[in-house]
């Protein structure tokens, strides 16, 4: 096993799937010769050529629709959305077309496509380059939503997403890109819809996904020093959701903190707490807690730390429910 950063895990997952299946192609802004704005497709253009690594004009709406159309006739597009914030101009073909084709056509078609979106704050890039919009897509029937927290899961989940016959929104947090993890050399897949316990604990369950899992793990390490054993549940997939792993963890710990980088109202943290309220309320020893962003757009530069949850916020959230 070698260490690999998250960025290369994504690149190699695409490369392996493109080698395995000639129907897989990548499309997005600057993904060709330049190798992507974040370097996620370095080397792919030279290896596969312009038709399989397609640079597009700045036309997110049309190339998202293009992917849906190509998927309808059996190709397996991977769409790169350079900053997840840009996906708003492509909501229509993704949520109204790709997500609904199969159902609206009575099951006559499949729409196998992956939308890789670079999301999240941490770069001080302000209101249009920093958002975490996962909840918008979880709300849409027909879509799957995946958010890995490290290189190992990123590679296995992306390969599984590419092989999935449904449209998958695949979130890549920008702060994760340089983070290294052991990644096996032989092929492996990580199935969609299964959470992972990233740290075992008995006192409280911290549920998170994407970059916030890293924050939760650091918070958990610090909490251990003051005698609180936190279990960190990494959801990995938000839709489909691994309800059992969440419920089992809460049944064990009796306490729940959910961390998300997005603002609270109608966010995914609310969904997790709702699930636990409906199915494991009797196991809770304290009211559950959301640790989320402040309800405001993202400001520029260092100001973003006033908006998004910090490690200290997770710690105080846990202390509150463990009081």
């Amino acid at each position: 096993m070698a260490e690999m950063n998250f960025r290369w895990a994504i690149t190699y997952a695409m490369q392996e799937e493109m080698e395995r299946d000639e129907n897989v192609f990548l499309i997005g802004e600057d993904v060709g010769k330049p190798g992507g704005a974040f370097g996620m497709s370095r080397g792919l253009f030279d290896r596969f050529g312009e038709w399989r690594v397609r640079d597009t004009p700045i036309s997110e709406e049309a190339f998202m629709g293009l992917a849906a159309g190509a998927a309808l006739v059996g190709l397996r597009p991977i769409v790169e959305i350079m900053f997840m914030d840009f996906i708003m101009v492509a909501m229509e073909p993704l949520c109204n077309q790709a997500a609904k084709f199969r159902y609206a056509y009575g099951g006559a078609v499949k729409v196998p496509m992956v939308v890789r979106a670079l999301y999240g704050a941490g770069w001080g890039a302000a209101a249009h380059h920093s958002q975490s919009l996962e909840a918008w897509f979880v709300h849409c029937p027909g879509l799957k939503v995946v958010a890995p927290s490290g290189a190992y899961d990123a590679k296995g989940l992306l390969k599984a997403s590419i092989r999935d016959d449904n449209p998958v929104v695949f979130l890549e947090h920008k702060l994760l890109l340089p983070v290294k993890e052991e990644v096996p050399e032989q092929e492996y897949l990580v199935p969609l819809g299964r959470a992972a316990i990233k740290r075992e604990g008995s006192d409280v369950s911290i549920v998170a996904w994407g970059w916030q899992v890293q924050e939760a793990l650091r918070a958990a390490a610090q909490l251990a020093e003051e005698g609180i054993q936190a279990e960190v549940v990494d959801l990995r997939s938000l839709s489909p959701l691994d309800e059992e792993t969440i419920l089992n963890s809460v049944r064990k710990t009796g306490r729940l903190v959910v961390v998300q980088e997005a603002p609270a109202p109608c966010g995914f943290a609310s969904e997790v707490i709702c699930l636990v309220s409906e199915k494991a309320m009797e196991y809770l020893d304290a009211p559950p807690k959301r640790v989320t962003a402040f309800f405001a757009p993202m400001p520029s530069g260092p100001l973003e730390k006033y908006i998004i949850p910090q490690q200290d916020d997770i710690i105080s959230g846990v202390q509150e429910v463990c009081r």
Partner: protein, 321 residues
């Protein structure tokens, strides 16, 4: 290159034209009688454009239709029984009764991508055309939409990419003079919609959409270009919507005189007279065609009426593959 239209082909076009007309009339009737669960966006009056486009496509070519494009779908070969069952909301329909008039799909006929959002069929057609060229295929995609769609951003984005990559795509615009309740000159900044193609270096052709063979030849020429690898063509088929935006729309936004004026340019008597003049059609044949069309529609309606509605369990499937 203009196609040689054989006597058989001309008679087939005439039959399809009558079928498309009678079918729209039927839907209008049953809609008024409250027999349909959803809306009807009638193509009455503009059938020739769609019939020409659908009939010109070969079996392996793709049609990406919009919400007022039954004539092209029927002419491409869609099964009338399955289409009718769908519009009646029956489980035997093309989309198991859940798609309704706007979400019609027939992969076997290579008719894919229709929906209820104006303009959004265009990038879907772009994607199918991309897939064809990606695989080195020779098929062509025809996207059938109205002039209203040419005001969406995604239409322009798609034109640009289709031209950039020389995709085998025909932008077939049925200019029926009205986008919902508003006349074309209130919404479109240019006199001829086809001039929009020039911004992307795409040939833009204007054709009389109420003339079935003229439109057919324009589509044939665009198909030749596409198959030769010369990229997309935009065709503006100028026609007129006799009905309102939807069945039941009183269409008070236009004068009865205007409608009457356009009805004088009805494609059916024009084409019939042409064929009679050429000695291809006569009164007996006309009656025979009308009778066979009537039988075909009756059979489709019978199938739809006798089919069951979907159950709850049948309605909850296929959200995911």
């Amino acid at each position: 290159m203009a196609r040689e239209l054989t006597k058989e082909k001309l008679l087939e076009l005439y039959r399809l034209l009558v079928l498309a007309r009678e079918y729209e009339l039927l839907l209008s009737d049953v809609s008024k009688q409250g027999k349909l669960p959803g809306w009807i966006h009638s193509a009455l009056g503009q059938e020739a454009a769609g019939v020409a486009a659908g009939a010109c496509l070969e079996r392996d070519d793709y049609l990406v239709p919009a919400h007022r494009t039954r004539p092209s779908q029927i002419a491409k070969g869609m099964d009338l029984k399955l289409l009718t069952a769908e519009i009646y909301g029956k489980v035997t329909g093309l989309s198991k009764g859940r798609g309704g008039e706007m979400h019609i799909c027939d992969p076997g006929c290579r008719i894919l991508g229709s929906g209820g959002i104006v303009g959004q069929v265009v990038p879907i057609a772009l994607g199918i055309a991309y897939a064809i060229k990606y695989r080195g295929g020779k098929e062509v995609v025809l996207c059938d939409f109205g002039e209203g769609a040419t005001n969406t951003g995604v239409f322009h984005e798609s034109m640009n990419m289709a031209a950039l990559w020389r995709l085998p795509l025909i932008f077939f615009c049925e200019n029926n003079q009205y986008a919902e309740f508003t006349r074309v000159d209130h919404h479109i900044s240019v006199k001829d919609v086809a001039t929009r193609a020039s911004a992307y270096g795409i040939p833009g052709t204007i054709v009389d959409g109420n003339h079935v063979t003229a439109t057919y030849q324009a589509v044939a020429e665009a198909m030749d270009r596409a198959r030769a690898g010369d990229g997309p063509t935009f065709i503006e088929a100028v026609t007129y919507r006799w009905s309102g935006h939807f069945e039941g729309d009183p269409a008070k936004y236009r004068s009865p005189e205007e409608v009457e004026e356009w009805k004088k340019r009805d494609a059916i008597p024009r084409f019939r007279d042409e064929l009679v003049h050429k000695g291809i059609l006569n009164d007996d044949l006309v009656r025979e065609i009308e009778a066979s069309v009537k039988r075909q529609i009756e059979e489709a309606v019978r199938f739809a009426e006798q089919s069951p509605l979907p159950t709850m369990a049948q309605t909850l499937t296929d959200v995911y593959a």
